[in-house]
Every structure is written in structure tokens, then in C-alpha cells.
């Protein structure tokens, strides 16, 4: 069964360092998303991406964050200068059509980011 894959599963970084989280969405999907979940809290929307551009972003997704689809398969989330409060589980998701319009979101298993 096709699945969304994310790497790394866990990354530890020092405050101020740049981090890139990678995702391979399901191959025929058109919409891509990043969500994050701080430990013990709810899953929060960060950004959606379609047709090589951001279609929507939340208040959390400030100038420190960026997303890219560098090739036909990968979808990345970059955090330029990590802060302690960026420590969280980051989930990538994809969908065939706009999330929820008729179908569902397929989530990866997440990348746990720990900022020291």
C-alpha cells in the first residue's frame, strides 16, 4: 500500500542551526502539507502546498520556515534558525485533491525534532 515516508525519524540539533525535514508523498498525490505536534498538544497545521507554491499557511509558519519540492518526489520543510520551541513532531501529509474536499489526508510517521 502506498505510504508517505519521512526522514529523519529523529533529529537532534543545537539552537540556531538549520534543519531540513524530508518527505516523499504518495506518488499520484497533488497536495502536500506539513503539520506539527508539540509533545502533549494537538496536531497543528503549518502549511499546504500545491502546484509548486504555498496555497495556505498558518500563523506558526513564519519567515523561519520554508517549504520546497526540489524534484518530482521530495517535499521538504526547512527551519532556518531553530529555537527551543521548535521541538516537536513534524508530520508530512499528502492528498489527491485538496485536503478534505472529497478524500482524506495520508500522513507520514513523523520526524521528531529536538532542539537543545
Amino acid at each position: 500500500e502506498p505510504e508517505v515516508t519521512q526522514t529523519p525519524s529523529h533529529q537532534v540539533t543545537q539552537m540556531g542551526q538549520e534543519v531540513i525535514l524530508r518527505c516523499v508523498p504518495i506518488s499520484n498525490h497533488l497536495y502536500f502539507y506539513w503539520y506539527r505536534q508539540i509533545l502533549g498538544q494537538k496536531v497543528e497545521f503549518l502549511v499546504s502546498f500545491y502546484n509548486n507554491e504555498i496555497s495556505e499557511k498558518s500563523e506558526i509558519f513564519d519567515d523561519q520556515f520554508s517549504v520546497e519540492r526540489p524534484d518530482g518526489s521530495n517535499f521538504t520543510l526547512k527551519i532556518r534558525s531553530t529555537k527551543l520551541e521548535d521541538s516537536a513532531m513534524y508530520f508530512c501529509a499528502s492528498s489527491v485533491v485538496s485536503g478534505g474536499a472529497t478524500g482524506e489526508l495520508f500522513f507520514g510517521e513523523g520526524s521528531r525534532l529536538t532542539v537543545l
Binding site: V4, Y35, K42, V43, E44, F45, S48, E56, S58, M89, F91, A93, S98, G99, G100, A101, T102, G103, E104, L105, F106, F107, G108, E109, G110
Partner: protein
């Protein structure tokens, strides 16, 4: 966008019993989706019910939707220890993002 509010926050039952979780939302929707999250794992889509549907079944899952009351319920029949997880409802309105609430933490005791 809007997030659903799940109730109860936590539910503990014995294996074999049924589990019912409720969801309320505020404004009209195109569909409502239920997801499960095992501890530390990604969300898994369980079932989607459209606004013109009142009930839907999938295996041991039964979802109802009452658009007049802006509420939905998820019933898991004959629960198993493996059903232990957090469950989230996600009301969807066209053009908006899918957002998640606090969820219901279900514990099924063997």
C-alpha cells in the same frame, strides 16, 4: 477553518465493549472525517462522512452525522486493546485547511 471538539477527553473501557466518541462543530461543513493516532505515530484516516449522509459503516466503525445539531459520533464495536489511541474528528469546509482538536484518548483494557 474550524476544528471539532471531541467528547469525552478520555475514555477507558474493557476489551469487547463498545466505545462511543462525540464531536461537535460550529459552522456548516462539506464533510467530516475521523482520524486515529497511536502514541507517537502519524494520524491515520478512518472514515469520511459527507454532509448529505447520516450514517456510514466501515468494519467495526459506525459514524453518524447530524448537521442540524452540528455533531457527529464515532462508535467502535467490540473494541480491542489495539484500538487504544487518540481519535480526532476533522470537520471540513470547502477551501479551508483541515484542522484537529484535542481528541478523545481511548484506552481499551485487556
Amino acid at each position: 477553518s474550524q476544528q471539532g471538539e471531541e467528547d469525552p477527553q478520555a475514555l477507558s473501557i474493557q476489551e469487547g465493549e463498545n466505545a462511543t466518541m462525540n464531536c461537535s462543530y460550529k459552522t456548516s461543513i462539506n464533510n467530516l472525517q475521523w482520524y486515529r493516532q497511536n502514541s507517537g505515530r502519524g494520524l491515520v484516516h478512518l472514515i469520511l462522512i459527507r454532509s448529505n449522509e447520516r450514517e456510514k459503516h466501515s468494519g467495526r466503525l459506525r459514524v453518524t452525522l447530524d448537521t442540524s445539531k452540528k455533531s457527529s459520533s464515532l462508535l467502535i464495536t467490540a473494541s480491542r486493546a489495539a484500538d487504544t489511541a487518540s481519535y480526532f474528528c476533522a470537520p471540513y469546509t470547502s477551501g479551508s485547511r483541515l484542522t484537529f482538536g484535542e481528541g478523545t484518548q481511548l484506552t481499551v483494557n485487556p
